[in-house]
C-alpha cells in the first residue's frame, strides 16, 4: 500500500508542472497587464514610471521561460511569492485562510453524509413511498437552485425572519450552519440519488435472496450487507466532489462573508494578483489528487477486494 500511495503522490508532479505553465502563461494571454490592474485597483493614475517600477517588481519584464522556471524553482521551496496586492507572502496569507475553508467544507460533508445516507437508503428500500418522493424533490431542488440564491433564501428565512442564526461572519457553531447547509444541499441531491440507485441494484442481487433464505433478520441484511456494499459508489462520488467542494466554497464564502480561501481568491482574480491565482490553482490541483487518494483508501477498507486487486498488481 505504501508503494501505491507513493506512486499516487508522484503523480502530483506533472499536474504541478502543467498548472504552473498555465498560470504563468495566463499573464501573457490576458489582455490586461497585472501592473496596470494593480494601479487601477489602487486608484493610482498609471504613469510610465510607476508601471515600469511595478513590472520590474513583479518580474514581468523577464521573458516567459525565465518566469516559468523561476516560478517552479520558487514553488519547490514552497515560496509562492509576494501578493501584488498586499505585499505579503502568498503562502502565509493562504495558510491563515485555509482553516476557515476546511471548516466549511467539512461542515457540509458531515451534513451531506448525515442526511443522504439515511435518506438515500430509505428511498431505495421503500421505493415509491413518501420518503422516496421527498428525496426526489429534495434532489431536484438541490440540483437546480444556485448556491448563492439558496444562501440568500436561508439567510432571509432563518436569520432575518426567524432570528435563529447570524447573517454572516464566522466564530460560533451557529455561524457554520447556514453556509454548510447551502454547500451541502447539492451534495445531498447527488448522494441520495446515487445511494438509492445502488441500494435498488443490490436488492436484486442473489446474495440478498441467499441471506433471506438463510433466515437472516431483514434489518441485519439491510444494514450489514446491502448498505455496506451499496455505499461504495457514494464514497467515490464523495471523493470526486471533495476537491470540487473546496473550490465550490468560493460563492458561499462571498455570500456569508466567510473569511476563507475562496473569497481571497475572488479578490485576487479581480485584481489580477497572479501569485495568489497561481498558488490557488496548485493547491486546488493537489487537493483534488489527495482527496481522490483518500477515497481510494477508504474504499479499500470498505471493500477488501479492491485492496487485493491492488496487491496483485504490485
Amino acid at each position: 500500500m505504501g508503494t501505491y500511495i507513493f506512486k499516487r503522490m508522484i503523480s502530483i508532479i506533472p499536474v504541478f508542472l502543467l498548472a504552473t505553465l498555465l498560470t504563468t502563461g495566463m499573464i501573457h494571454l490576458s489582455p490586461v497587464d497585472p501592473a496596470e490592474a494593480y494601479l487601477a485597483a489602487a486608484h493610482i493614475q498609471p504613469t510610465d514610471e510607476i508601471l515600469e517600477q511595478k513590472r520590474q517588481e513583479f518580474g514581468l519584464d523577464q521573458p516567459f521561460i525565465n518566469q516559468y522556471v523561476s516560478s517552479i524553482m520558487k514553488i519547490c521551496q514552497l515560496d509562492f511569492g509576494i501578493s501584488y496586492l498586499s505585499n505579503k507572502p502568498v503562502l502565509d496569507e493562504v495558510m491563515t485562510r485555509i482553516p476557515a475553508t476546511f471548516q466549511l467544507a467539512l461542515g457540509s460533508i458531515v451534513i451531506a453524509v448525515l442526511v443522504s445516507i439515511p435518506l438515500g437508503f430509505l428511498a431505495g428500500v421503500k421505493k415509491n413511498s413518501l420518503i422516496d418522493h421527498f428525496s426526489r424533490i429534495l434532489s431536484f431542488l438541490g440540483a437546480s437552485i444556485p448556491s448563492f440564491w439558496l444562501g440568500y433564501l436561508l439567510i432571509f428565512f432563518f436569520s432575518v425572519k426567524l432570528d435563529l442564526f447570524p447573517v454572516e461572519g464566522i466564530g460560533t457553531w451557529q455561524h457554520l450552519v447556514l453556509p454548510s447547509v447551502t454547500l451541502a444541499l447539492p451534495l445531498i441531491s447527488i448522494y441520495t440519488r446515487l445511494l438509492r440507485a445502488s441500494v435498488l441494484d443490490n436488492l436484486q442481487q442473489p446474495y440478498v435472496l441467499f441471506a433471506r433464505t438463510r433466515g437472516i433478520n431483514e434489518i441485519t441484511i439491510m444494514a450489514k450487507h446491502v448498505l455496506r456494499i451499496a455505499i461504495s459508489p457514494m464514497i467515490t462520488g464523495l471523493g470526486m466532489n471533495l476537491g470540487k467542494l473546496l473550490t465550490g466554497t468560493i460563492i458561499v464564502e462571498a455570500v456569508f462573508s466567510w473569511p476563507g480561501f475562496g473569497r481571497y481568491f475572488i479578490e485576487a482574480i479581480f485584481n489580477r494578483d497572479i501569485p495568489v491565482i497561481q498558488c490557488y490553482v496548485l493547491i486546488a490541483a493537489t487537493l483534488f489528487i489527495i482527496s481522490n487518494l483518500l477515497v481510494d483508501l477508504i474504499q479499500m477498507y470498505i471493500d477488501p477486494r479492491i485492496s487485493r486487486k491492488e496487491g496483485h498488481r504490485q
Binding site: 489582455p31 493614475q45 471548516q103 466564530g171 479581480f270 477498507y301
Partner: protein, 540 residues
C-alpha cells in the same frame, strides 16, 4: 488477514481523527469573536466590502481610504465647495514665485501614543514618501518637490522645483501625504514595506482587527479637534451587497454608505419601508461618455453633437438610477473648484436636431434601411462598458435603442473593468464610459489626464482643431499663480472640451447612505475619500 484488517482500521481512525480535529479547530478558532453585549454601547456598526487593509498612511491597495482617513490626518482639509481649510497646519504662506510653501503647524496635536506632532515628524514622513517618488508620482506636486526643511519646531517648509498651484489641494488627499508617528516607522524607515504600528493623530485608533472579518476603531480620547460622539466604530467586512442588505435588515448593521455599496433597487426598497433613514450626497463625480474622435465616423463634430442630442438624458438617468443620480449638464460637477464659470452649451434632447446634424455631416438614411450610410459605409460604432456594473450596462442598452432611432447602429461591448481601462488607454475604443476622480483631485487631475498621452483622453480629442492650443492651456494652468487667470483658463478649457462633443456628460454620481433610526447627524464628507464619522451619534 489480521494485519490487513488492523491496518485498515488504523487508516480509518486516522482519517476520522483528521477530519474531526480540523472541524473542531475551525470551530474553536474564532469563538471569541462575539463581544459581550455591554461592549456594544455607543458603537456604530457598518459594513464595508473589503478588508480595511494595513493601517499604513503611505501605501495604496488593499488599504481602504476611509479607514486610513480615520487614523491619519492631513495638513489641509478639503471642505464643501472646494474650500481648503487648515487642519494639522494652522496656516501657510506661499512665496510670490509660487515655489515655497511654509506651513505653521498646530501646537496642541499629539499622536495617539502621546508623542508630539511637529515639523521633524512632518519632514520624516515627507522624506519617506519621496524615497518612493515613482510610486507617488501620480500626485502632481510630489514629483515637483525639491526640498523639505524644518524651520523650527512648528514650521515646515516645502520647496518646489516649479510653481504648482494645486499643491495645497493635493495635500488634502488621503494618501500618501498623511502623518505617521515616530513609533510607527520600521527600523530602516521605509514605510512602503509596512509600518510597526498605526500611530496617527486622527480621531480614531485601531483597537482590534481580524483580517477579512472586522476592524474596531475606538475614539482617540486625546484628540485635538472635536471629539467624536460615538465611542467605537465597528467595520464588518461583508463582500456581498445582498448580504449587506440582509444584515442591515436584521439590525446587525447600523449604517451602510458609499458609492454603489448596495444596489439602487435594494436602496429604494429599504427606503420605501419607512423604517430607516436615508441620505444622498452632493455630486461626487460625473458619469461621462468619451467619444474617440480618431475614429473616422466620430471625427466629425456634428456626429458627436448628434449623439448628444439624440438621447433623452433626463429619462435615461431617472429611469436607470431611480432618480439617485442627477442629469449632468457639465463634464465636471459644479461643486468642484474653478468649475462654476463653465459656459459650455447645455444640450437638451432634440431628435430632429440630431437627425439634421447627421444629414448635414453626410450620413443619410437610404430608403428601406435603418442605419445611416455615407460613401457606402454604415454609421456603426461600439460602446464599451464595464460588464460588472449594472448601471453602465443598462445605460448602454438604452443608448443602443435611442441612437438606433436616429439611424446609428450601436454595438455594446461588455468587458471586465481592468480590460476596459486597458482598452481605453490603448485607444482601442469608439465610445467608453468614464467618471472623473472627484474631490479633492479634480478639476486639475482630470485636466492632467486629458493632457497626458496614453490615458485615452488626449487621443480621444484628436480631431479638435484647437487641440494643440487646448493642451498648451492645460499645461499652463497649474503653473499659474494668478487666481483670476486660473479661473479664466479653466472656464475656457472646460467649455472648449465640452462644446466639441468628445466628452458627453450623462449624470452626476452620488453616494448613498442608509442607517437605522437611532443614528443621527450623518453627513457626507466633502472629500470623496474621507470618513463620515466625525459628527455621527447613536441615540442610547
Amino acid at each position: 488477514m489480521f494485519n490487513e484488517r488492523n491496518s485498515r482500521k488504523t487508516l480509518l481512525i486516522t482519517v476520522l481523527i483528521l477530519l474531526l480535529s480540523t472541524l473542531l479547530f475551525g470551530c474553536t478558532n474564532a469563538s471569541n469573536v462575539s463581544a459581550p453585549k455591554g461592549d456594544q454601547d455607543n458603537m456604530l456598526t457598518m459594513a464595508w466590502p473589503r478588508d480595511v487593509g494595513e493601517m499604513n498612511p503611505h501605501v495604496y491597495n488593499p488599504s481602504q481610504l476611509f479607514a486610513q482617513s480615520m487614523v491619519y490626518e492631513p495638513l489641509v482639509s478639503y471642505q464643501d465647495g472646494g474650500e481648503l481649510k487648515p487642519h494639522l497646519a494652522e496656516s501657510w504662506d506661499i512665496s510670490d514665485d509660487g515655489k515655497e510653501y511654509t506651513f505653521h503647524l498646530r501646537q496642541d496635536v499629539k499622536f495617539s501614543d502621546g508623542t508630539s506632532f511637529n515639523a521633524e515628524i512632518v519632514k520624516k514622513n515627507f522624506d519617506t514618501i519621496l524615497n518612493n517618488v515613482e510610486l507617488h508620482s501620480w500626485l502632481g506636486f510630489i514629483s515637483k518637490i525639491d526640498q523639505t526643511d524644518v524651520i523650527d519646531e512648528n514650521t515646515f517648509k516645502l520647496t518646489l522645483t516649479e510653481p504648482y498651484y494645486p499643491t495645497i489641494q493635493e495635500l488634502a488627499v488621503v494618501r500618501p501625504v498623511r502623518f505617521l508617528g515616530e513609533a510607527g516607522f520600521p527600523e530602516d524607515g521605509d514605510t512602503s514595506k509596512g509600518v510597526v504600528e498605526p500611530v496617527g493623530t486622527g480621531p480614531w485608533i485601531l483597537e482590534e482587527h481580524k483580517v477579512d472579518e472586522y476592524a474596531i476603531y475606538k475614539r482617540n480620547e486625546n484628540y485635538w479637534g472635536e471629539l467624536p460622539k460615538a465611542e467605537k466604530i465597528k467595520v464588518k467586512i461583508i463582500p456581498d451587497a445582498e448580504t449587506r442588505v440582509l444584515a442591515f435588515e436584521k439590525g446587525e448593521l447600523d449604517l451602510i454608505y458609499g458609492e454603489g455599496v448596495i444596489s439602487l433597487d435594494a436602496f429604494k426598497q429599504l427606503e420605501s419601508t419607512g423604517d430607516y433613514e436615508t441620505s444622498i450626497s452632493e455630486p461626487v463625480a460625473t458619469r461621462q461618455l468619451v467619444i474617440n474622435s480618431t475614429k473616422e465616423q466620430l471625427s466629425d463634430e456634428r456626429v458627436r453633437q448628434a449623439l448628444h442630442y439624440g438621447f433623452n438624458k433626463e429619462v435615461l438617468v431617472e429611469g436607470i438610477t431611480s432618480g439617485y443620480e442627477e442629469k449632468a449638464d457639465y463634464i465636471l460637477p459644479t461643486n468642484l473648484p474653478y468649475t462654476k464659470g463653465n459656459d459650455a452649451k447645455v444640450i437638451d434632447y432634440d431628435v430632429e436636431k440630431a437627425k439634421s446634424l447627421l444629414d448635414e455631416a453626410g450620413w443619410t438614411l437610404p430608403k428601406g434601411k435603418a442605419v445611416r450610410e455615407k460613401d457606402g459605409q454604415s454609421l456603426e460604432v461600439d460602446l464599451m462598458y464595464d460588464s460588472a456594473e449594472s448601471i453602465q450596462k443598462t445605460m448602454a442598452e438604452t443608448l443602443q435603442a435611442e441612437w438606433g432611432a436616429i439611424g446609428v447602429k450601436l454595438n455594446i461591448v461588455g468587458v471586465e473593468l481592468t480590460e476596459q481601462i486597458q482598452r481605453f488607454k490603448d485607444n482601442k475604443f469608439d465610445i467608453n464610459f468614464f467618471s472623473n476622480y472627484g474631490a479633492p483631485y479634480d478639476p486639475h487631475t482630470f485636466l492632467n489626464i486629458v493632457l497626458s498621452e496614453g490615458f485615452g483622453f488626449n487621443e480621444a480629442i484628436s480631431a479638435y482643431p484647437n487641440k494643440a492650443e487646448l493642451l498648451k492651456q492645460i499645461a499652463e494652468v497649474p503653473k499659474t499663480t494668478d487666481e483670476e487667470k486660473r479661473q479664466q483658463l479653466y472656464s475656457s478649457i472646460l467649455t472648449s472640451i465640452q462644446d466639441q462633443g468628445a466628452i458627453i456628460p450623462i449624470s452626476y454620481v452620488k453616494k448613498t447612505a442608509i442607517y437605522q433610526k437611532d443614528v443621527t447627524n450623518f453627513t457626507f464628507p466633502a472629500n470623496r475619500d474621507e470618513h463620515p464619522f466625525t459628527g455621527i451619534s447613536i441615540e442610547q
